[in-house]
């Protein structure tokens, strides 16, 4: 099998080429200018993940919603499920930046945390 990828680990955006046999055996990555490119390709082929950011409605007098993020990359197939839950939630303030909103979402090891402090 063969697949072309573009690395997203830094702004350069190396064009990677991955070749493998069967279930990602003898996986060979080329085109990367640094080791992070190979790491990215291996992860992206087997189990693509992304940081997810969104806003959740809250009861602050200052702003109608509060920004949240996952504290690590979430498997791509879980993203829509997480967003659905977030958009149906409501946050009670006060909250502090870094506080956990949802712990270990679907056993992904990723928590959803607040990106902003809102106290009133």
């Amino acid at each position: 099998m063969k697949k072309e990828l573009i690395c997203i680990r830094c702004p350069i955006g190396c064009r990677l080429s991955a070749e493998w046999k069967g279930d990602f055996e003898e996986l060979n990555i080329s085109g990367n200018r640094c080791p992070r490119g190979a790491e990215y390709a291996k992860q992206e082929l087997r189990d693509p993940r992304r940081i997810v950011t969104a806003v959740v409605p809250c009861n602050s007098v200052l702003q109608p919603c509060i920004p949240v993020r996952t504290d690590r990359e979430l498997p791509k197939h879980l993203i829509d499920r997480l967003l659905n839950i977030l958009y149906r939630s409501r946050v009670e303030i006060p909250v502090r930046k870094g506080d956990i909103f949802i712990e270990n979402f679907e056993n992904s090891n990723a928590n959803v945390i607040f990106s902003s402090t809102i106290t009133r």
Binding site: I6, C7, I8, R9, C10, P11, I12, G13, R50, I51, V52, T53, A54, V55, P57, L62, Q63, P64, C65, P67, R69, K76, I79, L83, Y87, K97, S115, S116, T117
Partner: protein
């Protein structure tokens, strides 16, 4: 009588640049006030809820609101005063050399703020439909990408149901993903240039991840609809001219423009600060001082940056220079001009001084993976560096040491394209 306050340094704008500058001047013992019209510090960062900020400046990957909060904490800890919800109405240079601002805020009414130095840190604003002269009617549903970002991320309001994004700048790409993650369809991103304006990784994670088509060398030639946008007409370009016989229709109720940023300098101009037509920002010397002594500039008000980390760094650097000026260690102006030619759009600063460490920032006009940037002075090449990766979307930064800038004489930078593509 209008109440008057006095500070060593007044910073206008509490975004990334203003907060970083204020943290440095306050930490050096200079009384510092930061004025911002918003009720919370952070500027545009607060609506940029996506990650990717801070790797360089804070050594960790942050979202915009996190970066804003950390920058504000840093400034306040250093002792800077934040005056929020306050608008600068007027700025003038007094006969004694001090700078007098007229500031309006709900809490204090109108006040005078006098200082020895002003740091301009007002950032930039978006180019809009008017700047592009796109034909068509004037229905609801046309936004700049940043305005739609504010609606979605700050107000929690969906701008529409089906969108087309004009321009492939990073804000537009980020918004494409944001719209999709908010349940809004994104039908296309339309870019007039043959290459995307934004970073490749944003093409991958904001467009390719969602199968959003990117039309390069295409232009929106018409916006349709009376009350609300009903669609756009898109045509391919040939030598920059729309091929209207090949135009096609895209159904949508929302059009976002991500077509570039302009430094916000109405206030600067009103006090006589001369602007550089290539950047839209003030002409400055290597001390970040504008043509009006005592007025300095840093961040997007000076030239539009692609990374906020560089904004913070530049503002810190400018603040160091402000401190040195206030301490009488440097003089305004420069001893020789700095120019750019061949393939470079601009350079900051525009004048510099020999025997002084200087940071130069450039933007390229060309896309290349093989180029040499060189500096010529008095007929000699005094510095050069090879680059494997040059894009107009990415700023080039060069730090030259005092010993590399020994002589006086006009300094010219040029970018020479190599053999490789």
């Amino acid at each position: 009588m209008i109440q008057e306050e006095t500070f060593d340094v007044t910073v206008i704008g509490a975004g990334a640049a203003g907060l970083a500058a204020a943290a440095v001047t306050a930490a050096a013992g200079k009384t510092t006030i930061v004025i911002d019209r918003e009720d919370r510090p952070g500027g545009i960062l607060r609506q940029c809820i996506h990650n990717g900020f801070g790797l360089r400046y804070f050594k960790e990957e942050l979202t915009g609101p996190e970066y804003a909060e950390q920058a504000a904490e840093k400034a306040e800890k250093a002792g800077a005063n934040l005056r929020l919800g306050a608008t600068v109405l007027d700025m003038k240079k007094e006969p004694d050399g001090t700078l007098l601002l007229l500031v309006l805020s709900p809490g204090d009414g109108v006040r005078k703020i006098r200082s020895l130095a002003v740091i301009l840190a007002m950032g930039c604003r978006e180019r809009n439909r008017g700047n592009l002269a796109i034909p068509g009617s004037r229905p609801a549903g046309v936004f700049t990408a940043g305005a739609a970002q504010k609606l979605l991320n700050m107000e929690g309001i969906l701008p529409g149901k089906k969108a087309v994004i004009v321009g492939s700048g990073d804000i537009g790409l980020i918004m494409a993903r944001r719209l999709r993650w908010s349940g809004i369809k994104v039908e296309a991103v339309v870019e007039i240039m043959p290459y995307p304006a934004g970073l490749t990784r944003n093409i991958v994670q904001c467009l390719n991840d969602f199968g959003i088509p990117l039309y390069l060398e295409h232009s929106v030639v018409n916006i349709l609809g009376r009350e609300r946008v009903e669609g756009v007409e898109v045509a391919p370009l040939k030598d920059g001219i729309p091929q209207t016989e090949r135009k096609f229709h895209i159904d949508c109720d929302t059009v976002l423009f991500s077509v570039g940023l302009i430094p916000e300098n109405e206030l600067s101009s009103s006090v006589g600060v001369a602007l550089n037509p290539s950047t839209g920002g003030p002409l400055v010397d290597s001390g970040y001082e504008t043509g009006v002594p005592g007025i300095f500039a840093a961040g997007n008000v000076l030239h539009v940056h692609d990374l906020v980390d560089f904004v913070s760094e530049e503002a810190e650097h400018a603040a160091q220079m402000v401190i040195r000026r206030l301490n009488g260690e440097t003089a305004p102006g420069g001893t020789f001009p700095v120019k750019v030619e061949s393939n470079l759009k601009y350079v900051v600063p525009n004048r510099c001084r020999n025997g002084q460490d200087t940071r130069f920032a450039f933007r390229s006009l060309i896309v290349t993976n093989d180029a040499e940037l060189e500096a010529e002075q008095n007929g000699k090449i005094i510095w050069k560096r090879h680059y494997n990766y040059i894009r107009p979307a990415e700023m080039i930064i060069v730090d030259l040491k005092a010993e590399q800038l020994k002589e006086e004489g006009e300094l010219t930078f040029r970018l020479k394209k190599g053999e490789k593509i």
